[in-house]
């Protein structure tokens, strides 16, 4: 019994230490004055690899999710004779919830895992150490551009996801199932509020982008530099990011839409 309590205490202490280390790591990455001349090309390169290269999965997923929402929404709403509200339903679902959350989950799987594996492998092959010995701080040179790229790319990807989803919903609802196009767009325009819905959705995706990118780069930088260590760090990135996104989504939704 005492052993169990001790082991529980140790696990708790390990979690706290780990969060503290991640916090110190983040402070190290964000401290210092950014150097636009050297930093900008590095940021652009990372924006391409975490942002542009994630576009395909985001667009395809957004399209299918929008189409599924169109089908499900039509089936449910037509029971009440209110299938004209399908545009409103799809837009609110995507902009408020599915856009930021599903994009973040896909981002963690596609870009986050790649970031962790890349940084972990750089650590295992001593590239980070050699940079340190050349007088170049890897936190500034390697980690910071990747963190900022994730932070910037996520909201843009979430917006694209929602836009493609709304278009996919229209394909099914209007083109296939015959909902009047005017009511699809009109209901959407009347019920989606820019500040309450769109901006809150973007704020969510900004938070998720920051958390996912932070977890990904920290796991890569902190991994045990062996093949097993990198594999475990990559898994942790996806698991921790997904849990963090879903947990934070609840908190943010409660704050934004709870009306307490």
């Amino acid at each position: 019994m005492i052993d169990r309590i001790a082991s529980l205490g140790r696990s708790g202490a390990d979690v706290v230490i780990s969060i503290g280390r991640a916090g110190r790591f983040l402070a190290g990455v964000l401290s210092g004055v950014p150097r636009p001349v050297t930093g900008f090309p590095l940021l652009m390169k990372q924006l391409y690899s975490v942002g542009v290269l994630s576009l395909a999965i985001i667009v395809v997923s957004g399209l299918f999710i929008g189409m599924v929402l169109g089908l499900q929404g039509y089936t449910i709403l037509s029971d009440f004779g209110s299938e004209a509200a399908i545009g409103q339903m799809i837009a609110l679902t995507l902009v408020r919830e599915l856009g930021p959350v599903v994009t973040a989950l896909l981002f963690a799987g596609r870009a986050g895992s790649a970031l962790t594996a890349e940084i972990g492998l750089m650590k295992a092959t001593e590239q980070l150490s050699s940079m340190e010995m050349m007088g170049v701080d890897p936190l500034r040179r390697v980690i910071a551009p990747r963190l900022w790229a994730g932070f910037i790319a996520m909201p843009i990807l979430a917006i694209i996801f929602s836009m493609v989803g709304i278009w996919g919903g229209m394909l099914v609802g209007v083109e296939w199932l015959g909902v009047f196009e005017g009511s699809y767009w009109g209901n959407m325009q009347a019920s989606v509020d820019f500040w309450d819905d769109v901006v809150n959705g973007i704020i969510k995706s900004v938070v998720f982008g920051f958390v996912c990118a932070w977890i990904a780069v920290y796991q890569g930088y902190d991994c045990v530099p062996t093949s097993a260590g990198i594999s475990s760090a990559t898994t942790k990135t996806v698991v921790y990011s997904s849990l963090a996104v879903l947990g934070l989504d609840f908190v943010l939704t409660a704050v934004m839409f709870g009306n307490f």
Binding site: Q127, M133, M134, V136
Partner: protein, 270 residues
């Protein structure tokens, strides 16, 4: 030692995860010479280089490089100080997304504002020094192990450092590759007036080029001096290491329970 020391280690104690790696290492590394640090695998030779480079901090004791106490430097000062150090890692540690040329140009691009044509000339000169000017457009994945290490060597001398540290430069090299590296280490030291620290367990190669050598085992220096002095060193442990005897002060058997107990033989096994 009577020579001008470039690096001085004073009673350095270092532990990692409750395991004591160094229990009071004191060592002087002379300026402008090649010093070999040798010892069995796992004695912390690479750790010693990382302590000198400030990547690790000692639990106690001091490390002085060119008159500067390394553990006392703040992060930013340390990064600036490292510009006069070069290090050749065991794996080469080339940046895999950059070509050979860009790898060698990297330190110059970060630390200097030299014009592009001058960087081009310096990179080609450094690559010429290691015999790989013709390989400048290759990617690291296209290089053999020996070429990889030579490119890394060219990169570590890109900023004309005062000190260069070699981590197991001969490990895994064929005889030709080893010969090339021995020649390069010796030539670079004499032509650039570098202070070279060489960590290795290749006794013959190391002793053939070093001016001074020390052997580390069990967390401390067990023998130090010129190659000749080491060859005549009275310590049995030093002689066992230099001649590669399978048994001696470092036993062949890993510590274990009595054989009789493990084999379940009553009365014991001789």
């Amino acid at each position: 030692m009577g020579l001008d020391s470039y690096i001085t280690l004073k009673d350095v104690v270092f532990s990692r995860s409750d395991r004591r790696i160094f229990s009071g290492v004191t060592l002087d590394i002379p300026r402008g010479k090649i010093t070999a640090i040798m010892g069995p695998s796992g004695t912390g030779k690479t750790t010693l280089l990382r302590l000198i480079g400030g990547q690790l901090r000692p639990d106690s004791g001091n490390i002085i490089v060119d008159g500067q106490s390394i553990p006392e430097l703040r992060r930013k000062e340390l990064y600036t100080f490292r510009e006069k150090m070069g290090m050749l890692f065991q794996s080469g540690a080339l940046f895999t997304d950059l070509s050979v040329f860009e790898n060698v140009a990297f330190p110059m691009r970060v630390h200097t504002k030299l014009p592009e044509d001058m960087i081009n000339d310096i990179v080609l000169m450094k690559l010429e020094a290691v015999g790989l000017r013709g390989a400048r457009n290759l990617m690291p994945s296209e290089l053999s192990g020996g070429m990889n290490r030579r490119v890394a060597l060219a990169r570590s001398i890109a900023l004309d450092p005062e000190l260069i540290m070699y981590d197991e430069p001969f490990a895994g090299q064929d005889p030709i590759g080893m010969g090339v590296l021995v020649k390069l280490i010796r030539d670079l030291n004499s032509s650039m007036g570098l202070t070279s620290v060489l960590v290795s367990h290749d006794v013959q190669e190391s002793l053939s080029i070093c001016h001074y050598a020390c052997i580390i085992a069990d967390g401390k220096v067990i023998g130090a001096g010129s190659p000749e002095e080491l060859k005549n060193h009275p310590s049995e442990q030093v002689q066992q290491f230099l001649h590669g005897h399978p048994d001696g002060p470092v036993p062949f058997h890993y510590p274990s329970a009595a054989a009789a107990e493990d084999f379940g033989v009553a009365g014991g096994v001789s």
